[in-house]
Amino acid sequence: MATLCARFRLIVAATAILIFAVVALPATAQQPNAVNPTADAVKEQQLLQQFNRIQGLGQIPDTKSYVIEQPMGRVWRQFHEVWLHWIGSIAVLGMLALLILFYLIRGMVRIAPGRSGVKIVRFTAFERFMHWMTATCFIILGLTGLNITFGKDVLLPLMGPSAFSSWSRAAKYAHNFVSFPFTLGVILIFVVWLAGNIPNRVDIEWIKRGGGIVGHDHPPAYRFNAGQKAVYWIVVLGGTAVAVSGYMLIFPFYVTNIAGMQIAQAIHGVVALLFVAVMLAHIYIGTIGMEGAFEAMGEGTVDLNWAKEHHSLWLEEEGARTGPGEMLRQPAANHGFSVTDSNVSRS
């Protein structure tokens, strides 16, 4: 009995060893001789080529810090330090040079028959308020914006680091706060002057005849000629572009990530600089460029002869609406124009 028991135990032990060996052998056989823990490892260069930036997961609450590399920053730097400086310098200085040259050649565009002494209302008080609010904001925004891009080249050497920083800090705050009334102004301009600024066939002829800028022609125009309509749409569309892109930068990470903010800044910078250049031309033609133009937005009235020369169809409309004698002190706003082909055929 004892030998039977011992033999049984031997068989059990042998079986157990056999089973262990059978189970364990494939496991050891699967283990390769040389381990390569980086076979699947992420590689920096590969990630950068694939995604152009590297991000992962972190432990701190600041999720935007999970982007650890965005080499696009170097491209944005190239844009801001080189391309934007060129675009801005050429646009703004080029426009100034053109205007000076134009003034020297052409001089102030005079009212050919002279002033009639009769005044006609062109812009209401509200329209003028709207214009000057937007204009004041634009000048502040333009100067403080130019300071951010060109200040360190132009003003920093003159003012010294400490004074220049104080001025730039105030300029930054002004730029941020003044953006709100500016945006309101652009919206008001869009709504109030939309009716008069829909392009029509009169504009084509106005452009063909050089708008009176080239040569001494006076092509007919309604309340706003093609040039003024162009300024209107530049203000509305350009103003919208700078406002939207600007608010994306004032409120970082509310709307977009770092890549979106770089694009927003690029749009903001380029559009704003072109905007400044266009507004220089607008200021020129509204002041020293043309006799009798400034008073339209200054006092709200224009001389009858000025209106005859520059906005003949508008004058006819005003006359037809109010009668020749009554139109003198009637506000020109608060009524929509419906420009039809029958009007156009007169010209």
Partner: protein, 198 residues
């Protein structure tokens, strides 16, 4: 003079965040700001790697180039520092930085940015070395005491290396040669325009 650099050996980083904590404590960094952070790429997947990232103190630093008030300067050791007295908090250095290093405490209106804060390589700022004023604005100035940044000094696996660029590059090279693999010196190509040939 040495050219100081950071190098994170991602094959050694165990995502313990000791560097983050060490930095915050040593420099008494303002609330909500992390000068250094650890980010795990492909978290939970095979081949995941953790990288500790802060300001890399770039050669020809983009932040310095785009600053509208020129408040950055590079020390003789190649460390990129800035003056909080001159900074206007415009956010441009953040757009330009390839490593997301500049951060701004939220002050006042909107998401309005305060004066930028970033890793100083434990080298203080423009104020006289080791003055309370310097400490309050920029944190510790270990470099002036002959010490390296605390994040790297405290790294338990010696994954994060700080010191002269040539020396830490050699250490990394030797490691890669010995163990037979390496996922690369993260950020070096972008920051220094060079890679470590291994």
């Amino acid at each position: 003079m040495a050219r100081m650099k950071f190098l994170c050996d991602a094959d050694r980083c165990i995502d313990c965040n000791a560097c983050v904590t060490a930095c915050k404590n040593e420099n008494e960094v303002p609330w909500g700001i992390n000068r250094r952070r650890v980010v795990t790429i492909n978290d939970g997947k095979p081949g995941e790697r953790s990288v500790s990232m802060a300001c890399m103190h770039c050669t020809d630093a983009p932040c310095a180039a785009v600053c509208p008030v020129s408040c950055f300067y590079t020390t003789a050791d190649g460390v990129v520092l800035h003056s909080k007295d001159l900074c206007i908090g415009c956010g441009y250095c953040f757009y330009a930085c390839p490593f997301g290093a500049p951060q701004y405490p939220r002050v006042g209106n909107f998401g309005s940015r305060g004066k930028m804060d970033k890793c100083t390589y434990c080298a203080g700022g423009p104020e006289p070395d080791n003055t309370p004023l310097q400490y309050e604005k920029y944190g510790a100035n270990r470099l002036s005491e002959g010490k390296l940044p605390l994040c790297a000094e405290m790294c338990s696996t010696k994954s994060l290396l700080a010191g002269d660029g040539d020396i830490i590059a050699q250490i990394y090279k030797d490691r890669v040669a010995q163990r037979g693999y390496g996922s690369g010196a993260w950020g070096w190509q972008t920051a220094y325009r060079e890679t470590i040939e291994t």
